[in-house]
Each structure stands twice: as C-alpha cells, then as structure tokens.
C-alpha cells in the first residue's frame, strides 16, 4: 500500500511556479540541497577566515593582524587580537565548521540531493518540512552570526561550551553572545531533526521497485544511518542547551555548583550527543567515498555487506564511547577504563572499511579523476586521524595529550582530511548532475594538489606541538617557558595555513566559473551505475519521467555480462548482481 506508486509523479505545474516558489521557497529536494550547498560553503569560508585569524595570532603573537585595523576596539584594538576575542574566534571556528559547514554539507546537501535520486523517488516524503528544515537552519546561521555584534562579544567557552564557564556571565564576561550561541544551536537542532525524519521516512517508504535494502548504494546506507544518529543525538543536545540557557537567563542551577549543580553533567550530556555527532560528520563522507572509489576503480566495492554492517557498527558503538572525552575530567576513573575499551573496539569496523576500500582498488582499472583523487586523499588522511585517535583512546596516554595540540591535529585529520576531502570529492562528482555543467578537471587537480600539500604542512606538525605539551585554546603560548621553543613550528604552521586558504582560490573560481561557462554535462559523465545518472543533468522537477525499476546492486562495474565496464542499476540484465543482489 505504500509502494513508490502510492506517491505518484510530482511533476505537475512546475512551469507555473513563480521565481520565489521555484528557487527561494522551493519544496524540490534538489533546490533545497543546492540552497544548503551555498549556505554551508559560505559558512565554510567564514570558519576558514576565522582560522586564519587564529593562525595569525599564534604565528605572530601580539602583532597587528594585516587588515585587522578595521576591527572594533573590543575585538582587536589597532589590529592586535585580544585574548577574549581569540577565545571567541576559537569557539566560533569550531562551531561554524562543525554545525554550519560540515554537518549541513553532508547531511543538508547530499542527503537532500542524493536520497530521492538514488532510490528512485520523485521527492522527499515531506517536501514542505524539508523546505522548513533549510530555512530554519538559515535563521540559526543568522542568529549565530549576530553574536559577533553584541556587547560582551560572542560566546568564548569553546565549541564544547563547558559549564560553569558557559553558564556564568559573571565569570566569563559573556552573556548575550552565549545566549545567542545557545539559541542558534537549539534552532539548528530543530532543523536537523526535521531533516532527519524526512530522510528516514523517505528511505524506508519510497524506494523504487527492486531497490532492496541490500541494493542501496553505500552513500544512501550511510546517510540513512546518519539520519538515525541525528534524530536521536540532536534532541539530547537541545535538552542540554535549553538547561544551559536557563542557567544563563533564569537563574536555574543545573550545571553550577553553588546550588548543587553538576558541571560534569553538562559534559556527559554534551558528549553523549557529541560523539555520535562526530560520526554524523564522517559516516556520510565514508558512504560517498565508497561510491566514488568503486566508480574510480571501475570495480565492485569490496565486501559490500560488511561495509554496511561496519557503518551500522560504528554508529551503534558511537553511543557507548562518549566518556573518552572526559578521561581527565574528574569522571570516575573506572568508567574511564570501560569507555577506553569501547573506544578501542571502534577501530575494528573502521579497519574493515579501510581495508575494503583498499580491496576495491586492488586489481582495479583506476581512473584518477578529481573526485577520485579527493576520495583517495580521504582514505589516506582519515587513517592518520583515526590512528591518532588510538593514542587518545588509551587512557594513560590521554593523561598527557588531552587538551593539547595532539587533539587539534586529530580533529583536523578526521574533519578536514576526512570529511572535507570527501566533501570536495562529492562536490566534484555530483556537480555535473546538480548544475548541468562540468567543472574544470585541470583546475580541480591543481586545487587538489595544493590543498593536499598545504593541508599536511598545516596539520601534521601539530602532532609534535601536542607531544611537546602545547595546550590548546592558548592565546599566547610564549607565556610559558616550555612552549617558547615551539614558536618556530607555530609560525611554520601559520604560513602553511595561509597558503592552504590561498589554495582554495582555484576551487572557488572553478565552482563559480563552471556554473556559467563549464562544458555542458552529459547525463552520465562518470559512467556510473546510480539511478541519478539515468536522468538529465540537472534532473527535472519530479526526477524520473517514469518510476525506475532496479534490477541489481549499485556497484556492477566490470561485469562480465555486459561489454561496457559499467551496468546501471535500472538496466535489466538477467543474472547480474553478484552478491549485492542477495
């Protein structure tokens, strides 16, 4: 009773829509995905620029920021960044990157764009809720930006906003900024939950005929499981944020000790959300990379079923490890041991994924197009980030490296080296479908090479800073004698970081130039098997002229049954499908 047929075709009266209904308050999942794309790239840039200010201060402590003379006295008098502004910058860099850049890029852009197209549905189950989800996120972004313009400055307690610093204006000097930070994330949480329930419902109920669970591309699997994580983790954050907001404004005492509140409770709630959150930031990346690596290798993904189970295992175990952020927090040390073991175990499904990617490359026929290059960078860099996680997972080692730059290195290896490279790969891969134009391969490769080099020059030395004991969130390391010898490394990192930002210029140029001037994209430029490549680029409203039927798994590259080295999911070939069809 609820097959795709029940949803019918939505392509009616599209031409009659006004510009506003078509591009602004659109209910078309593809437009909404593109809206999310522009919004989150903007916030990515904002977060990147804040990183540059952070790096300036750390590379050249106390010297006026070039062009920083225009900043208000309360932030950087004469262009010299103040400690309170530095703390706001770090907080907002983390916040924007995690909540307004990477998360919407993965879960806003690609979940929206790919789910209906890849499962053969005309749109999301609830198009209007989908539209609301975007606009609510947009409002959240505005609220977050507004925090820079209020008295007392923006929130400055770190993206983790540990109480009681974040709960007590008398101790932090920040009130309105923290309140706006809280409100913005509560609003964003609502947006994410609405998005997630849409994705889950759509994937469960609207798959095209023949699209069994085990015929779904890994990108869809990972987005599905990610949506479940979002659905169940975000409300925990919302609840915690609301209580913190009340501590700030109504005089409640959840997290402030004088009235009996528990500072550690905030950390438990935050990380009970926070660790699933970091997997929200990596699982979709892993899924899309799997699609792209199979495509680039022209070979079926190695171990499809175990890939699916590994995603599920990571997601489930992700709920049991939150305490690894709290080893040194004063949490019961015996809990620490438990959390250590569960954390270590997460390396196992991650290993499965890594080796299966390698297995996919093995005896392939590898085409090094730009998406593939970025996907390979994902694999090699995520491994570094994941392996550095093992150091921190070991409780005794974490005693030393907790809250040092070792952690900062880990963050950026998994989030930039992992998520962001995967996002670059996805942008290059699906851009032709989204905009109907090809991006320049040459510029793409230049962008990739420069980014890869300067990214490593920026973040790899941070491991050494961390090993030297360099603490994080430090405005001026020269206050400590033991860190004075590290100034050279810090300056080197900063220079590499500036070049890293500069390396994004070819990307931005490529992105905007190709919108108008890129070569017209064919339906299936990468010779891929997914259903999205069977429709025109860009796909019309309603996606499929006729509900497609799926005959086999998504990775039938090099199938001996056909002469081409790819086999679209909707092309009937008896006997095709290998294990993925079972």
């Amino acid at each position: 009773m609820t097959t795709a047929a029940g949803h019918g075709q939505a392509d009616a009266g599209h031409h009659g829509l006004s510009f506003v209904r078509k591009y602004i308050f659109s209910t078309d999942h593809k437009i909404i995905g593109i809206q999310f794309l522009f919004m989150s790239l903007f916030f990515l840039l904002v977060g990147g620029l804040m990183a540059m200010m952070i790096r300036w201060q750390l590379g050249y402590p106390g010297q006026p920021l070039p062009g920083g003379g225009g900043l208000p006295e309360t932030m950087a008098p004469g262009g010299v960044i103040l400690p309170e502004f530095y703390n706001s910058l770090v907080t907002m860099h983390g916040t924007f990157m995690v909540f307004f850049a990477i998360m919407p890029l993965l879960v806003g852009v690609y979940a929206n764009y790919l789910i209906p197209l890849k499962i053969g549905a005309p749109d999301m189950a609830f198009p209007r809720i989908n539209m609301a989800s975007f606009w609510i996120a947009f409002v959240a972004g505005l609220i977050m930006l507004a925090g820079f313009f209020v008295a007392g400055g923006h929130a400055a307690a770190g993206w983790t906003s540990y109480a009681p610093l974040s709960a007590r204006p008398d101790l932090s000097g920040v009130h309105m900024g923290q309140v706006l930070w809280l409100v913005s994330l509560i609003v964003l949480g609502l947006s994410s939950i609405l998005g997630a329930l849409n994705y889950i419902t759509t994937i469960i109920n609207m798959r095209a005929p023949g699209m069994h669970w085990f015929r779904m591309p890994l990108s869809i699997w990972s987005l599905f499981i990610t949506a479940i994580l979002v659905l169940l983790a975000m409300p925990i954050l919302s609840g915690a944020l609301i209580m913190l907001l009340f501590d700030q404004t109504l005089g409640t005492s959840f997290f402030s000790p004088p009235e009996g509140g528990q500072p550690l409770l905030w950390q438990h709630l935050f990380w009970f959300f926070g660790h699933p959150e970091v997997y929200i930031l990596i699982l979709p990346a892993m899924g899309m990379v799997s699609d792209i690596i199979a495509n680039g290798s022209r070979k079926p993904i190695f171990g499809y079923h175990s890939m699916v189970y590994a995603i599920a295992a990571i997601a489930f175990l992700g709920w049991l490890v939150w305490g690894h952020h709290m080893f040194q927090s004063g949490m019961n040390p015996m809990l620490g041991t438990t959390f250590m073991i569960s954390t270590m175990v997460i390396a196992v499904p991650s290993a499965i994924k890594t080796f299966n990617w390698l297995g996919t490359l093995w005896r392939g026929n590898i085409r090094l197009h730009t998406p593939m290059l970025n996907a390979l960078a994902f694999v090699s860099m995520f491994v570094i980030g994941g392996l550095s996680g093992i150091f921190m997972a070991s409780t005794p080692v974490d005693i030393f490296i907790h809250d040092t730059y070792f952690i900062v290195a880990h963050i950026h290896y998994v989030l930039f080296g992992g998520s962001l490279f995967a996002i670059f790969a996805a942008i290059y891969f699906w851009y032709p479908k989204m905009f109907g134009r090809m991006m320049s391969e040459r510029l793409g490769k230049v962008h990739f090479a420069l980014t890869f080099v300067f990214y490593n020059l920026t973040f790899f030395p941070m491991h050494f800073l961390g090993m030297g004991g360099h603490m994080r969130r430090i405005y001026d390391p020269s206050e400590y004698e033991f860190m004075q010898g590290m100034q050279g490394t810090n300056t080197l990192i900063s220079i590499a970081a500036f070049l890293l930002l500069a390396s994004q210029a070819p990307f931005m140029w490529n992105f905007f130039w190709s919108l108008w001037k890129g070569a017209k994209a064919p339906d299936n430029p990468w010779e891929d098997n997914g259903l999205e490549w069977t429709v025109p680029s860009p796909p019309p409203h309603g996606n499929f002229a006729k509900t497609p039927t799926v005959y086999h798994g998504p990775y039938e590259f090099a199938s001996p049954l056909v002469t081409e080295d790819y086999l679209p999911q909707s092309r009937p070939v008896p006997g095709a499908g290998g294990r993925a069809a079972s």
């Binding site: 309170e84 009996g260 290998g578």
Partner: protein
C-alpha cells in the same frame, strides 16, 4: 619540533612507553595502508584495454583484517587499563604521601600546605599562590578543586593532567624523580586569562623542603 618532554615522575616512563607502543602499532597500520594504497594506484592505474577484476569480496581476507585489529585493540585496552589504574585509581593512591590542597581559580593556583602539624585541614595550614613545593622521590597527593570554573592541572614533565572542577575535590598523585623547577599549566579553557594561568612546581630534596616549609610558617607568624 620535538618529541616528548623530559621525564620527571615515576610514571612518566610508563606513559611514554604506552605512547611508543601505540606509535609502533599505528605506525605499522599506517605504513601498510598507505603503501598498499600507493602500490595499487600505480599498478592498477587505468590503461587502454584494461578491465578490472570482477569480484565482490573475499571472506577469508575480511575475517583476517577484522580479527587482527580486534585482538590488538583489546590487548592494548587491557594493558592501558593497568597503567591507568596505577595512576588514577582513587583506591590505589599512595597513603604515605606528602599532601597538599590546590584550589584553582581565575587565573591562579592556590596551594595550601599542611603546616607544622603535617595535617591538612587544620588551623595551622598556610596557602601560597602559584607555588607548589614538593619533595623528590616521595609521593605527593594533591586534593584538587576549583572555586569558579573548570581548570586543569598539568605538569608536562610529570605527565600528569587532571581537571579541577568546582564542587568536587579530586585526588591526584605523582612522585617527582628529578629536582628543579617545572611549569604548571592550565589545560582547560577557563576564561580570558586561561593562557597565562601559570604556576611553578619546585621539587626539593627532603631537607630543603622542610627548610622551605618552616620558612613559610615563620613568615606567616611574623605576618600576624
């Protein structure tokens, strides 16, 4: 660039050893993965007329690369747990330790010493700002707390770090093995002065510490 700082406490060596063990394990994993990646990229790069090998996987291979990390990780976890318990288990802390209390607040460390009677929490206790004086080769136990927000007590050379949380008193111990001065850092963001919340530990020979302590008490008395 530098490696780990000099070791100056009894368990610094244990922690560093774990660090190296993990570096070796992860180093092997790293080399295997990246080498395989590069080799495959070169050997199996696209060539005209080439067609990829059609396979959906290999159960034996998958079992191996699931089992090997699983065993390694669990072993590593159990081993780490031992070292951890030695350092942080609250029931196993040394009992014959030199005890002090530290209260962290924005942006300083107030160290309370037991005074002449050698017992904390009595009226002859005295407090000093940002100066922790301890004996060498004798366990030191700190009762760590905070007045306002969360701070974190960190001495790199001792490899000790412990958050100081308002409303909680958390025991921390270490045994210094080298004399001299070391810096105390605050490792938890605690406000705008977080970056300069610096203190100093001075590790004395036993008699020196007594001298210092009695000098302090004398000052106290002279002051009152």
């Amino acid at each position: 660039m530098q490696w780990l700082p000099p070791q100056a406490s009894t368990y610094a060596g244990d922690i560093d050893f774990m660090f190296w063990v993990i570096l070796v394990i992860t180093g092997i994993a790293f080399v295997v993965v990246e080498a395989a990646l590069l080799v495959f990229l070169i050997r199996y790069r696209h060539r005209p007329g080439r067609r990829a090998h059609y396979t959906h996987g290999n159960t034996t291979a998958e079992v191996i690369w699931t089992a090997v990390p699983a065993v390694t990780m669990i072993a590593l976890g159990i081993w780490s747990g031992r070292v951890w318990a030695e350092i942080k288990d609250r029931d196993r802390m040394p009992t014959d330790a030199f005890e002090v209390a530290i209260e962290a607040k924005q942006f300083e460390w107030t160290v309370t010493y037991p005074g002449p009677d050698g017992v904390l929490g009595t009226s002859d206790d005295f407090a000093v700002r940002n100066q922790l004086h301890v004996p060498v080769n004798r366990p030191v136990k700190i009762h760590l707390t905070a007045e306002d927000v969360i701070h974190s007590f960190f001495v790199p050379e001792f490899r000790i770090k412990q958050d100081a949380v308002p409303g909680m008193t958390i025991p921390v111990w270490f045994e210094a093995t080298a004399m001299g001065q070391f810096e105390i850092g605050c490792a938890e963001l605690c406000g705008l002065g977080h970056y300069r919340m610096r203190g100093v530990v001075t590790v004395h020979a036993d008699d020196d510490l007594d001298l210092w302590l009695s000098a302090q008490t004398a000052d106290e008395e002279a002051g009152t």
